[in-house]
Amino acid sequence: MKKYKLLLIAIAVLANPLLGMAADKKAPEKKLSKLVDPTVQGENCVRDTKDMRLNHMNYILHQRKETTQLGKRWPKNVLKNNYSIELCINCHARKKVDNKIVPVSIKDNTHFCSQCHRKVSVNIDCFSCHNSKPTGKIKFIKSPPKTAQEKQTK
């Protein structure tokens, strides 16, 4: 419990500058939105984007435990509140080069997950095991729509 509280504090502290970053409309926001797979339409992530920016690590790590230990496997065609790392990669790890959409590996400096982490000195080892490139089997055209509640919080 103590650890949990410490983590929350750490997140709150770390997240504040990020929020500020997003509010400052010009520079970083432009950079980040460019990172999202251009084939994905919509403004929302699997959960409210603002919330994801702050809390994605909690959500992913929580689902990871549920899936690997308890066998709760979220169906891949459900996007809403599904924090499977395979899905993140499928939506986020592509970019446009010469008008072609190509997969981006974690070795590439422009990978969605690493660009932001590098800025805040977070080092994740996930991609030594998980494939950092989309495999092309799953493809989404639209991100899930916002719920009324999420619209209100914005």
């Binding site: 919330d51 690997t68 709760k72 395979e86």
Partner: protein, 254 residues
């Protein structure tokens, strides 16, 4: 006297109250992760099921390697990175399932069978694991949670079936449904990603495709499943049943 028994009760109360206030102070803007998946949460696996296999060695053909090839392909085992040759020796390389030939020295009778993780009810690999990475799911699947595996390889020593392997080299282009990486122990997980989707493991599928049909797969606790029915028909054996591990994989004809 009572004062001595509770020397700092008031102090303790003060601390508890302080903690509560601190928690309240944190709460605005911070959401608890318990609600993260509200709405579409799938069910956890339960012990109402126990996944298992029956392997008929009379039907298993000598020289046929289809189950092994299918498994390697499913998990992308021993694939090269950037076309470079694997550095690890063949005996170090990963096998989830392998073909074993047995010979009775007296009669000269040989038989061939696939050997894989036996998915024990009381698995020695889980007993010895210092981190809890080696685990048995409620539905009987024994596997490694690589997120907590530190690569000590104690489980490899404990397993009487030599079913586990260690990943010696960096890996790339993993299958998205089967992540794996250097420094971890791995083994057959009964194709957990397939089973959770209601499909059968890759080796079973391959064996049926090659028309040998030597592997029956299903729920051992369901009296009407194919495995249970087949096990009722004829005697089956557990490998090293003297260890009383109550394996989930059984053999016929040995």
């Amino acid at each position: 006297m009572s004062k001595q028994n509770h020397p700092d009760k008031s102090r303790r109360n003060f601390i508890t109250a302080g903690a509560a206030v601190a928690t309240l102070g944190l709460a605005p803007g911070v959401k608890f992760i318990d609600v993260a998946n509200a709405g579409n949460e799938p069910k956890a696996v339960t012990s109402e099921k126990r996944w298992g296999m029956l392997i008929d060695t009379n039907k298993c053909a000598e020289g046929c390697n289809d189950c092994v090839t299918a498994c390697d392909k499913e998990f992308g085992l021993n694939e090269t990175v950037d076309g470079q040759k694997l550095k690890s020796r063949p005996e170090q390389q990963t096998h989830y399932i392998r073909k074993v030939k047995l010979k009775n020295k007296k009669t000269g009778h040989t038989l061939s069978l696939p050997l894989l993780c036996q998915h024990c009810e009381s698995p020695p690999c889980v007993d010895v694991c210092p981190t809890g990475a080696s685990m048995r799911r409620a539905d009987g699947i024994v596997k490694v949670d690589m997120h907590t595996c530190i690569g000590c390889r104690y489980c490899m020593l404990a397993c009487p079936y030599k079913a586990r392997s260690f990943i010696h080299e960096p890996i790339e282009n993993q299958k998205p449904y089967a992540p794996r990486g250097q420094g971890c122990v791995e083994s057959c997980n009964l194709c957990v990603h397939r089973v959770d989707e209601g499909r059968e493991p890759a080796c079973v599928e391959a064996c049926n495709k090659s028309n040998h049909k030597a592997i029956y797969f299903g729920d051992l606790k369901d009296q009407n499943s194919v495995v249970s029915k087949e096990m009722k028909k004829q005697a089956s054996t557990q490998l090293r049943d003297d260890l009383r591990l109550n394996t989930g994989v059984r053999y016929r004809g040995i």
